[in-house]
C-alpha cells in the first residue's frame, strides 16, 4: 500500500480508503501462543519477541480498559475512524 499518510498529505482530496491490522496480541488466545512459541524457541533472536510478550502478559499487561469496545464489524471500525471507506457509498 505504501505510505498512505504521505500520499494523502499532498493529495488535495481528503479521504482515501484505508484498512487496519489487528495485532495478535489483542486476541485472548495470545498468552498461550506466546508461551508455546517462547518454549519452542524456533524464532529469530532466540524468540526474544515472544519472550517479551510472555513477560508482559505475566505482569498482567491487560489491554482492556473502561473505554474499550467490543469488536462488532468493519463498519464499527469505520465509524470509530480507525479505517476509512474512501468514496465507497
Amino acid at each position: 500500500m505504501g505510505c498512505v499518510l504521505c500520499l494523502c498529505q499532498f493529495d488535495p482530496h481528503a479521504l482515501k480508503p484505508s484498512g487496519c491490522l489487528l495485532h495478535a496480541k489483542f486476541l485472548d488466545t495470545f498468552a498461550l501462543r506466546a508461551e508455546q512459541e517462547a518454549a519452542r524457541g524456533e524464532h529469530y533472536g532466540e524468540s526474544h519477541e515472544y519472550r517479551a510478550y510472555r513477560r508482559g502478559i505475566t505482569n498482567e499487561r491487560d489491554l482492556w480498559c473502561n473505554w474499550s469496545e467490543k469488536y462488532i464489524n468493519w463498519r464499527q471500525l469505520e465509524i470509530l475512524g480507525l479505517m476509512s471507506k474512501g468514496n465507497w457509498a
Binding site: 482530496h13 479521504l15 476509512s84 471507506k85 465507497w88
Partner: protein
C-alpha cells in the same frame, strides 16, 4: 410490442451471458455487440453458452475504445440489426455487459407498455450540464480529438491546449444542437428508426467521429432532431465518483439497489455474487418502495466525504494540511482559564450545567488531568505528559474525535504547557473563556509572601498576555470571551450564563445552582503590595485595592433582567 435489449460487452463475458439469458428468458430479445478487441475464442465460448436461446443474436464487431466513435458505431450496428430482425420490438434498451436488471423485467415491460411513445434518454444542452468532470462541455463539440484520452493523455491535453490557443473551432453541422446525457437509454422503434435513417446521417457521423465521448452525445443530440417525446432521464442507475469514474456496485449495495427506482444498474462488479444471485433469481422479488432521494443523498455524501473527509479525524488515510481542514476538530469544546481559582466546585457545575465532560488541566505540566482523574481516557489516550507534548494538536483532536456526542471542557492557564494555543486559536470549534489575571488568586491564597511569589506572578502574567495577544489576531477562528478579573466580579452570574448559552444552548434551566464564589477579601491589598514591590499586575483589570463585599461569599443568584 416487446422490449429488445442491446448489450455492449467487452469483459466479464460469463456475467454478460448470465444477464443476456435473464433478459431472453423473460421475453426480451437481445443483440450482443462484442468489442472487436475481445479474442475470437472468447466470442466462440459466449456464443456456445447462449446457443440454446434463439432470441439472442450477435452483431458485427467493431473496436470500442473508451470515449471514441466506436461505441456509437457498435450501438448503431446492434440496433440496426435488432430493428431489422425483430419487427415486434417496440422499445430498444441500451445496456452494457456490466449492467444488471434490478427490478423484475415485467415491471420494465409494463412501464414501457404504459408509455409506448416515450423515449427515455437523458438529453441536456451543454450549457445546462453540471456533471462533466474535466471541464470539457461545449468544447467536446468544437475541438478535434484524434488522441486517446486514456492512452495518450499528454497528446490529448496538448492538442486541446493548442486548439484553444489557435482559437480553432469546428463548425457544428447546421441544425444540430449539442446535447449530453447518460450513455444508457431506452428509445422507441419510431425514434431509433428516424435517427438511423436520418437523411443527413453520413455528414452527422463524420462530424461525430471527431467529437469527444460521442456515446454521451450522439443519440442525445439526434433525439432532439426527430420530434420524439423525450423523457430526459435514464432508466439505468449509474453514479459517478468525484473524478468522473463510474461507481462500481458490490454486494454491500444490495440494500441500496433494492430501493432504487431505476430498472437497471451499472456497473456491477463481476464478482458480486450476491447481487447477481439476488436480482437474476426467478422468484419475483418483493421490492421495497423505491426511494431515489436516499440513493442520491448517499452518493452525494460519499463524494463529499471523499473530497472533504470527516472533519476532525486525523488518521492513516486522512491527514489534511492546515488550510484544508487540518485545523478543525470534530466538535465544539470549551476551554476555561481562571474560573477554578474563583469558584468552589466549578468543574462539577460545568459538567452539570453543560451536560459535558469537565476535565481538569489537560495541559498541566506534570500529567494530563482527565475528568475523574482517569489514567487512560477514551480511545486509549494516556495521561502521560511527554506523550501529549510530543504532539499536542493530535492529542486534542483525538480526544475530541473519540468523544463525539459528548461536549468536552477543560481548564487552562498560564501554568500549563502553552503549545496547544496556536491550534485552538484557529480551530472554529474552540470556545475559549478567560478571566484574565485570575491566575494570581491561588498565589494570594497560598499564604506565601509577596516577595516569594512576585517573580512567578510576573512570569505567568507574561504568558497569559501572550495568549491573549494570540487570540486577538485576525486569523483567530475560535470563539473567545475575555473578562478581566475586576469585570468578572462585577457580575459573575452573567458570564456563567453566557457559557451555558454557548456550550449547551438547549439547557432547560440555566439559572439552577450556580457555583459558590470564593471570598476575595484582601486580594486587592495583595495586588497593591505587588505594585509596591515594583511589579505591575495589569491583567486583573481595575481591581479595587479595598475590594470587600459581604455578598461575595454567598451563592450567586441569577442577574436581574433589566428592561
Amino acid at each position: 410490442m416487446t422490449l429488445g435489449v442491446v448489450m455492449l460487452c467487452h469483459t466479464a463475458l460469463d456475467r454478460a451471458a448470465q444477464v443476456a439469458r435473464h433478459w431472453a428468458v423473460n421475453g426480451c430479445p437481445v443483440v450482443i455487440h462484442l468489442d472487436r478487441r475481445v479474442p475470437d475464442s472468447d466470442q466462440k465460448a459466449l456464443v456456445a453458452a447462449l446457443a440454446d436461446l434463439p432470441d439472442i443474436r450477435f452483431s458485427p464487431r467493431v473496436a470500442c475504445e473508451w470515449g471514441t466513435f466506436g461505441l456509437v458505431e457498435a450501438t448503431i450496428l446492434a440496433a440496426t440489426q435488432m430493428l431489422a430482425d425483430l419487427p415486434g420490438v417496440g422499445h430498444v434498451y441500451l445496456a452494457s455487459g456490466s449492467c444488471l436488471p434490478i427490478r423484475r423485467v415485467s415491471d420494465l415491460q409494463d412501464h414501457l407498455a404504459a408509455h409506448p411513445d416515450t423515449d427515455f434518454i437523458e438529453s441536456v444542452t451543454t450549457a445546462d450540464v453540471g456533471w462533466t468532470v474535466g471541464g470539457l462541455n461545449k468544447e467536446r463539440f468544437t475541438l478535434r480529438f484524434p488522441f486517446a484520452w486514456k492512452r495518450q493523455r499528454r497528446l490529448f491535453d496538448g492538442y486541446v491546449t493548442l486548439q484553444r490557443l489557435l482559437r480553432f473551432q469546428r463548425r457544428i453541422p447546421d441544425g444540430l444542437v449539442p446535447h449530453l446525457g447518460s450513455q444508457w437509454w431506452c428509445l422507441t422503434r419510431r425514434s431509433l428508426t428516424a435517427i438511423l435513417s436520418h437523411p443527413d446521417r453520413g455528414r452527422i457521423d463524420r462530424y461525430f467521429r471527431r467529437v469527444w465521448i460521442p456515446d454521451e452525445s450522439y443519440f442525445q443530440t439526434l433525439i432532439r432532431q426527430v420530434g420524439a417525446r423525450v423523457e430526459s432521464r435514464s432508466l439505468t442507475l449509474s453514479k459517478f465518483d468525484f473524478q468522473g469514474r463510474p461507481h462500481v456496485f458490490y454486494d454491500d449495495h444490495l440494500h441500496l439497489l433494492r430501493h432504487s427506482p431505476a430498472y437497471v444498474a451499472r456497473k456491477i462488479w463481476p464478482e458480486a455474487d450476491l447481487l447477481y444471485r439476488t436480482f437474476l433469481s426467478d422468484e419475483a422479488n418483493s421490492l421495497p418502495t423505491p426511494n431515489a432521494g436516499k440513493i442520491d443523498r448517499l452518493f452525494a455524501k460519499a463524494v463529499e466525504r471523499r473530497t472533504k473527509g470527516r472533519p476532525g479525524l486525523f488518521m492513516q488515510s486522512r491527514f489534511p494540511a492546515k488550510g484544508r481542514g487540518g485545523n478543525v476538530s470534530a466538535a465544539p469544546y470549551g476551554i476555561f482559564a481562571g474560573f477554578s481559582a474563583l469558584f468552589d466546585g466549578f468543574q462539577p457545575w460545568l459538567a452539570r450545567a453543560n451536560d459535558a465532560r469537565a476535565h481538569g488541566h489537560l495541559f498541566a505540566r506534570d500529567r494530563v488531568e482527565f475528568a475523574s482523574n482517569e489514567a487512560v481516557f477514551k480511545g486509549g489516550l494516556s495521561d502521560s505528559a511527554p506523550l501529549r507534548d510530543y504532539n499536542p494538536r493530535s492529542f486534542l483532536t483525538n480526544l475530541i474525535w473519540n468523544t463525539r456526542g459528548e461536549t468536552q471542557c477543560f481548564l487552562f492557564g498560564p501554568g500549563d504547557v502553552q503549545d496547544i494555543a496556536s491550534f485552538v486559536a484557529t480551530d472554529p470549534n474552540a470556545r475559549i473563556f478567560i478571566i484574565s489575571g485570575a491566575f494570581a488568586v491561588p498565589f494570594w491564597r497560598s499564604g506565601l509572601t509577596v516577595a516569594e511569589v512576585r517573580a512567578h506572578i510576573a512570569r505567568l502574567q507574561k504568558v497569559e498576555a501572550d495568549l491573549l495577544a494570540l487570540l486577538d489576531q485576525p486569523e483567530t477562528k475560535a470563539k473567545v470571551r475575555v473578562w478581566t478579573l475586576a469585570e468578572f466580579l462585577e457580575n459573575p452570574a452573567e458570564p456563567l450564563e453566557a457559557i451555558v448559552d454557548e456550550l449547551n444552548p438547549r439547557a432547560p434551566d440555566r439559572t439552577g445552582a450556580l457555583p459558590r464564589i470564593l471570598p476575595l477579601t484582601g486580594f486587592g491589598a495583595f495586588l497593591q503590595e505587588l505594585r509596591n514591590q515594583g511589579m505591575q499586575p495589569v491583567l486583573m483589570g481595575d481591581f479595587p485595592a479595598d475590594f470587600d463585599t459581604s455578598a461575595e461569599s454567598q451563592p450567586l443568584s441569577s442577574p436581574q433582567k433589566t428592561g
